[in-house]
C-alpha cells in the first residue's frame, strides 16, 4: 500500500480519512449513488483530480506558472473526438486519438518550453497565456474541423455506452432484507471504470514522479533555482521536462473526459473559466502536495454541482424570514462560491492539506 503510494501518504489523520472516503466513494460510485447525475459528477471529479494534480506538478512542485494547462487538456479531448469522427467508433479510434493528443501536447509543450523557459520562468506564464488564447480562437474559428463553438459530438464503442449490458454484480445477502450487489453493469458503468482506472493510474504515476530523484530536484528548483544550477542541475532542462510531462498528463485526462462525455467543445475543455477552476483547486487544496489537488478538485466540483440545490432548499425553508431567502436564492450561487473561496484562501493560506498537515 505504502509502496503503491510511493511512500508519500496524505499525512495527518483528517486528510487521510478524507482521502480514503473520496477513494471509496469514487471506487463504488456507480453502486452507492443513484442517478446519472451523480455518476457524471464522480467521473468529472476523477478527471479533474488528474488535471489539477498535473497542474500542481508545475505550480506547486516546480514553481512554474502556466495558463495553457486547459489547452493541453483540450488537445487530448479533441484528439479523441476527431479520431472517433474520422476513424469511426471503436477502441482503435480512442487509442489513436489519445496517443495523438498526448503527442501533440508533448511537442507543443516542448516548443513553448524551449522558447520561454530558457529565458525566465515568468516569461513562460506570458507565452502560455498567448498560445492558449490563440489556440482557443483557432478552435472556435476552424469550425469545419473543430465544430467551432458548438463543439463535436461523436460515437464511442458500444461497450462503453448505456445500451451495453455486461451482466450483473453478484448479489450478497447480508442478513434480513439487506442485499448488496445485484445491479446491472451497463456500458456506462464500464465507461466510468475506464475513467476511474485511468485517473487512478495517472495519479499514482504522478505520486511516484514527485517522490523520485527527479521530483526532488523540481522542489529544489522551486526553492532556489540559482543554487540548484550551481550544484550541477541544468535547471532549464528540468523545467522543460516537467512542463512536457505535465502537458502529456493533462492531455491524457482530456482524452478520458472526451471518452466519458462523448462531446467536446471550447467551453468544456479550453475555456479560461476551467483554467481558473484548476488554479483554485490547487490553491484551495494546497500547493506542493498532490493530495491537495484531490481535496481541492472534490470540493470545487461538489460546490459547483450541488451548491445551487443546497441553496434552493435552504431558501425554501427560510421563506418566512426577511432578506435571507433573497440572499440564498439559487441564482446567487456564484456569489457564495466566491465568498467560500475568499474565506478558504484567507484561513488556509497553505491550502487545506497544508493546514491540516501542519497541525499534525
Amino acid at each position: 500500500m505504502i509502496r503503491l503510494l510511493s511512500g508519500d501518504g496524505p499525512g495527518g489523520r483528517l486528510v487521510s480519512i478524507a482521502v480514503l472516503a473520496i477513494f471509496l466513494s469514487l471506487a463504488f460510485a456507480p453502486f452507492v449513488f443513484e442517478g446519472t447525475r451523480a455518476l457524471d459528477t464522480a467521473a468529472r471529479i476523477c478527471v479533474l483530480i488528474v488535471l489539477a494534480a498535473s497542474f500542481d506538478l508545475l505550480l506547486g512542485y516546480a514553481g512554474i506558472v502556466s495558463f495553457a494547462h486547459t489547452m493541453f487538456f483540450g488537445l487530448g479531448a479533441y484528439g479523441v473526438a476527431l479520431s472517433s469522427l474520422h476513424m469511426g467508433r471503436g477502441f482503435e479510434a480512442l487509442a489513436a486519438g489519445t496517443a495523438a493528443g498526448a503527442g501533440a501536447a508533448a511537442v507543443l509543450a516542448l516548443v513553448i518550453g524551449l522558447f520561454s523557459l530558457r529565458v525566465r520562468a515568468i516569461f513562460f506564464a506570458m507565452i502560455t497565456l498567448a498560445v492558449a488564447s490563440a489556440v482557443a480562437v483557432l478552435v472556435s474559428q476552424l469550425s469545419q474541423i473543430t465544430g467551432g463553438e458548438d463543439g463535436l459530438t461523436y460515437r464511442i464503442p458500444r461497450a462503453l455506452t448505456a445500451a451495453a449490458d455486461h451482466g450483473t454484480v453478484p448479489a450478497f445477502a447480508i442478513g434480513g432484507d439487506l442485499v448488496l450487489g445485484g445491479q446491472r453493469i451497463t456500458g456506462k458503468i464500464a465507461n466510468y471504470y475506464l475513467v476511474f482506472g485511468g485517473a487512478l493510474l495517472l495519479f499514482l504515476l504522478m505520486l511516484r514522479l514527485v517522490n523520485s530523484p527527479f521530483g526532488r530536484v523540481l522542489q529544489a528548483i522551486r526553492e532556489n533555482d540559482y543554487r540548484a544550477e550551481s550544484i550541477g542541475y541544468s535547471v532549464v532542462r528540468y523545467r522543460i521536462a516537467i512542463s512536457v510531462i505535465s502537458a502529456v498528463i493533462a492531455a491524457l485526462a482530456g482524452s478520458l473526459f472526451a471518452i466519458w462525455l462523448r462531446y467536446v467543445g471550447p467551453d468544456t475543455t479550453l475555456s479560461f473559466e476551467l483554467m481558473i477552476d484548476i488554479l483554485l483547486m490547487v490553491v484551495i487544496g494546497g500547493m506542493g502536495t498532490l493530495w491537495g489537488a484531490v481535496i481541492g478538485a472534490v470540493l470545487l466540483v461538489l460546490a459547483q454541482s450541488y451548491l445551487r440545490d443546497v441553496m434552493g432548499s435552504a431558501a425554501e425553508r427560510m421563506a418566512d424570514l426577511p432578506l435571507l431567502p433573497q440572499l440564498l436564492d439559487p441564482d446567487r450561487w456564484l456569489l457564495w462560491l466566491g465568498l467560500l473561496f475568499v474565506l478558504s484562501v484567507y484561513f488556509f493560506p497553505s491550502g487545506i492539506v497544508g493546514r491540516l498537515r501542519g497541525r499534525r
Partner: protein
C-alpha cells in the same frame, strides 16, 4: 588544475575584473584577499560560471570551460560556495545535502525510482552530516537553522558534490568562535588529505595565516600580488592597498 587567462568583465563602464591570469594547483589553498569591491566575488562568479566574462578564458584540466553553464562546470568538478547563505530553505537539512549528493552522482534524471529508496545516496548523506557534526539537525528545515549552522550546511553541500576545486566565499562569516574551527579544519583536511584545490575568499587574517599556502591580492579588479603568505603580507602594495593599519595591529 584550474587556470584563468586574461579574465576580464565589464559592467557598464566599470571594469570589475581586469585581465586576471592565475593558476591554481591541487593540494594548494589559495586565499584571495582585497578590499570590498576589489572583484573577489566577481572573480569567483567568472570561474564558477554565474557571470560570463567580457574577455579572457577559464580552463579546467586544460579544457576551455568559459562558455559552459554553472551546472556543467559543477559536473566537471568545480564546487562553489556562496557568501550569502544560499540553501533550499523549505527543505530539510538532510534533503539539502542529499540533493547535492544526488547531483554529483548524476541521479536527478530518474523519474520512476523512489528517491527514498536510494541507499547509497542516503549513506553518503549521513556520512557528510556526521562529518560536519549536524546529524542531530537532519530533520530541521534549512530556513530554521541558526546562521552558523546554515553556513556549515553550505560547506556540507559543497563537500557532498565531491569536487576537485573548492571555492569558499567567506565560509566562517557570522559564525561563533566555537563553530568556526570546525569548518576551518574541514577545509584544511580537504586540501591536506584530499589533495583538492581550494580557493578561499576571506577577510580574517588569522584564518588566512593558519590555512593559506598562497595569497592573491586583488585591487580594483586587478591582480596586484601573488605569492607565499609571509612574502605577500610584507609587500608595500598590499600594506597600502588593503591590509594597511589592519596588519599593524595584528
Amino acid at each position: 588544475m584550474l587556470e584563468t587567462r586574461d579574465l576580464s568583465v565589464r559592467f557598464g563602464g566599470h571594469l570589475a575584473v581586469d585581465a586576471v591570469s592565475c593558476r591554481f594547483r591541487p593540494g594548494e589553498l589559495t586565499a584571495i584577499v582585497g578590499p570590498n569591491g576589489a572583484g573577489k566575488t566577481t572573480c569567483f562568479n567568472l570561474i564558477s560560471g554565474q557571470v560570463a566574462p567580457t574577455s579572457g578564458r577559464v580552463l579546467l584540466e586544460g579544457a576551455d570551460i568559459t562558455r559552459l553553464s554553472p551546472a556543467a562546470r559543477t559536473r566537471r568538478g568545480i564546487g562553489r560556495g556562496f557568501q550569502q547563505t544560499n540553501l533550499f530553505p523549505g527543505l530539510g537539512v538532510a534533503e539539502n545535502i542529499r540533493l547535492a549528493v544526488q547531483a554529483s552522482r548524476r541521479k536527478g534524471g530518474a523519474l520512476l525510482r523512489l528517491a527514498a529508496a536510494d541507499r547509497t545516496t542516503a549513506r553518503a548523506t549521513t556520512d557528510i552530516l556526521e562529518r560536519v557534526q549536524m546529524a542531530h539537525l537532519s530533520k530541521r528545515l534549512a530556513a530554521e537553522l541558526a546562521h552558523g549552522d546554515q553556513r556549515k550546511l553550505e560547506v556540507a553541500m559543497l563537500m557532498a558534490l565531491e569536487p576537485n576545486v573548492y571555492m569558499f566565499d567567506e565560509p566562517t562569516a557570522g559564525m561563533s568562535a566555537e563553530e568556526a574551527p570546525v569548518v576551518l579544519s574541514l577545509i584544511d583536511s580537504l586540501r591536506r588529505d584530499g589533495g583538492k584545490c581550494v580557493l578561499l575568499v576571506e577577510h580574517k587574517l588569522d584564518v588566512i595565516r593558519a590555512l593559506a599556502d598562497r595569497i592573491i591580492v586583488l585591487h580594483n579588479g586587478r591582480l596586484v600580488a601573488d605569492g607565499a603568505p609571509a612574502r605577500v603580507m610584507e609587500m608595500d602594495i598590499v600594506q597600502d592597498a588593503y591590509l594597511g593599519q589592519g596588519l599593524a595591529n595584528v
